[in-house]
Structure formats: C-alpha cells, structure tokens
Symmetry: C2
Subunit: 254 residues, 2 copies
C-alpha cells in the first residue's frame, strides 16, 4: 500500500520529533550517560583536515556526536549518528578512546544548545546529565564526500587541523587524542584508505606521512622503516630505454 | 575522637553493605549501563598468563570488573575496581576497547552470580540491565604481585593464555581483543614493564616477543625491525680478553 504524500510526510515529521534526542520524553529511548563523538580526518594529498559542526545561533563548534539507542549496538549507533548529523555513510570508523572524567560534565553548554534550537529544557532534561563519551575516528579522502549539517547545526565544514575554531567542552582534547592515535596507527590506517594511487613512489608515500604527522621526516630513515615494515611490495623497474632514473614503484600488501 | 573498635567495625560492615553494587538500593550510586573489565597479562620470562576470577558456587569464570561511581572518573573507577577485586594496585592500565553490542546482555548470568552470593534480585535489579563494557589491559611481571579474591569470588588466579577456563558472557572475546591489542602495541608496552633486566641481549628480547606473540620469529628480521624501531640503545662491547663472542647488550631508550 502506498500512503498519500501528506500522510507519509506528516508521519515522517512526527517520527522525527518523537525520536529527537532533544525531547526529554525520549530519555527512555537512549542509554543514559553514554555518548559518542566522531573525529573525521580528511586528507587529499596536501593538508590534514577535520570535520567540525557549528550549532545554530551559539558560535559553539563541536565534533559530530550522538547517543546510543536502548536496543542498538554501540558501533551501529556511531555509524547512524554520523550519517544523521553529517550525511556521511560507509565510513570505516575505529574506536579511539573513552573520555570519562567527571569534570567534562558542563550542563550549561548543552542547555545553551537546546535553547538556541527552540527547546526549554528543565534541569532534569536527560541531555544535561553527566556523559561518558566513546570517541571514534576515521581517515577519508575528503574530495570524495560532501558533508551536510543536520537540523541542530548551521554548518558542517572541513577545517585544517592547525587552524581549528575553538571547540566546545573537551572536544579540543578529543581531537588531540584522535590525532595522536591516527599518527601512531598510521601504518595500518594508510593501507586501506585510498589516499595514494595503486602504485606509488617512496617519495609520494613519505609526503603522505609528513602531511599527517605534521613534520618533515628524514628520507633514509623513513625508507628503512617502511621497507622493514612488511607493508609494501616493490615492483620491478621497467626499463624504458631512457636513463635509469625512474624511481621504484611500490604498492601495499593486501 | 577515636571510636571503640565495635562501632568502627560495625560502621565498616554497614558501609560495605551500603556501597555494595549487589544491593539494588545502590542503583543511584553507580552510572547505569556502564561497566568495565580488566585483562591483566602476567609475564615472568616464560609464559604469558591472565588473571581470572571464579565466582562462589557457580563455576563461572570472569575477568575482574566493576562499575563507575556517579561522581567518579572512569579511569579512577577501573583502578579502584581492580584493587577491590584482586588486591592489585599501582598497575598501569590502558584502555583497549568498548564492547557495546546488544547481544552481550544476558541477565540470567548475573542473576546466577547474585543468587550464589545470597542475594534475591528482582527483575528490576540494576545489575541485570544491559551494560556497555569499557575494557582495560595491563602487562605486569606476575612474580612481583599476589592477587587476592574479593568477597564475591572463590579465587583469583593466573592462567596460561593457551589454557584458560571457559569464561562467562563475552569475556573470551574480550581476552582475544586485549591479546591482539597487546601484541600490536608490544613495542611501546615492553619498554616500561620491567620484564627484562636493565641491559639485555637481542636474544633475550626476542624471547619475550616470542612468548607474548605466541610464535617463533625469524632472527635477522626481528633484529632489523628492532634496530630500526628507535627503541633501543646499543652498548659498546666490553672486551674481556677472552674470545670476542660476547653478544651486544642493549637497553631501552627512556
């Protein structure tokens, strides 16, 4: 059966309102005290960027986050939340760290956001409770996706990691932790991320590492570590008849 | 003022009962739906072991875990929980992974444990709720500590990783994840862990890696990777006048 447009649209709006985490009646739909935040790193051959949202009429900048449904797997909730808030899907997210200090609880900030979006939260509103946040991160090629802000937010933009706006709550600390984790795990991250062509030179690989690690690397050390890492296959040189100056080409072991 | 022994002891017992997570009245003292579990790896030069608790009269084996107080930092709660359940303190715990699937919720198991310890939990007992578990791990020299079981448990014992008893709930999966993480992060774990003398040979280092990774490693590959890792300082050989067969000695960069 196909419902007339009016009914499906009205139902859609009602369902949206019913499920909105900003409604205090929906306390029972989400696990209390547990939130998640996503640090989405974007790279396209030059600079490392991060996806940041700005809440309506607040000048508050934040990482995209959300809450876990009472019958929802945590990892599914994070994928759903990222999709709802930024429009991005099919992103391979990895857990990074859980932020669980008491001092991160600052209900006034969430109060401001709810008010700026037309809510009048009482002191017992569940979003004003203390939250532990499970942080996820991903590394994507940002030229291949177009983020879209959700209803709570003015914008959803890529910012250079070294030129971020001031982020609300402890989101600045969260970004730093995610960046440290990305840099530490770069060897395994880099293989599946489509940041390089299928075959690449050692110099191109070094440029990616330098951009993401934010520092110049010493060429012979870098080459020695990479060759010892077991990540790379080296292709035979193709002799074109010209001078033998062509560099070796590599690809990742799958 | 010093209270007579009787009063202080009675107060201590009452306080213990009042604070016991097994009491449903204490729902309000802990964050709902959030638990933690600790995978404590022990090593003393030969085999890798894990600390496992057995609950009274249940034949249920489990990792030491616990809950987070409403005004307690998550990391502090994990240290406190490990101390209370095993007697171990001053252990450097690291976050490993958050287990948040719905299917890990099996209230009948927790019901059995509570009953075996003299409680009669109603269906609304907070410990029968769904829990997301934040998993921590540590690597210690197990000859230097003596674990002690808490009141809920019969025993608190070291088991070889390849001869564990069947663990309750998803604790077997949790151990596997922690072991993968330990093996992946072994380079950084190994430096601070007092598993080797201050100066050691490449062969001794290789033996530690082999025991923890559970596989034989190829000597020249291992040596090349270690020398490229930047973790080691090589000492000058001391020529004793005997044949120059003494191996190089290394120590970790601090």
């Amino acid at each position: 059966m196909t419902l007339p447009f009016f009914y499906t649209y009205t139902f859609f709006i009602m369902a949206k309102q019913k499920d909105s985490p900003a409604n205090n009646n929906e306390r029972k739909n989400f696990l209390p005290h547990i939130a998640f935040d996503s640090v989405i790193f974007g790279f396209s051959g030059e600079k490392l960027k991060i996806l940041v949202m700005e809440y309506h009429n607040t000048r508050l900048f934040a990482l995209p986050g959300g809450f876990v449904g009472v019958t929802e797997n945590l990892n599914d909730a994070v994928r759903r939340g990222l999709k709802e808030r930024t429009g991005l899907s099919n992103i391979y997210l990895q857990q990074c760290y859980v932020f669980g200090d008491v001092k991160r609880h600052r209900p006034a900030v969430m109060h401001t956001i709810l008010q700026a979006n037309g809510h009048q939260p009482g002191d017992d509103h569940w979003m004003l409770d203390r939250f532990i946040s499970v942080v996820y991160y991903a590394l994507i090629n940002y030229t291949k996706v177009t983020p879209r802000p959700d209803a709570l937010s003015d914008s959803c933009e890529w910012y250079d990691v070294d030129a971020l706006p001031k982020l609300m709550l402890d989101h600045g600390t969260i970004v730093k932790k995610a960046l440290d984790t990305l840099r530490k795990n770069l060897d395994e991250q880099i293989v599946g991320m489509n940041l390089l062509p299928k075959q690449f030179t050692m110099k191109e690989l070094q440029q990616v590492y330098e951009a993401i690690r934010g520092e110049k690397l010493q060429r012979t050390n870098f080459q020695r570590k990479m060759l010892a890492s077991g990540l790379l296959i080296r292709h035979k040189k193709i002799f074109s008849g010209k001078a033998h100056k062509a560099p070796y080409l590599y690809q990742f072991v799958q």
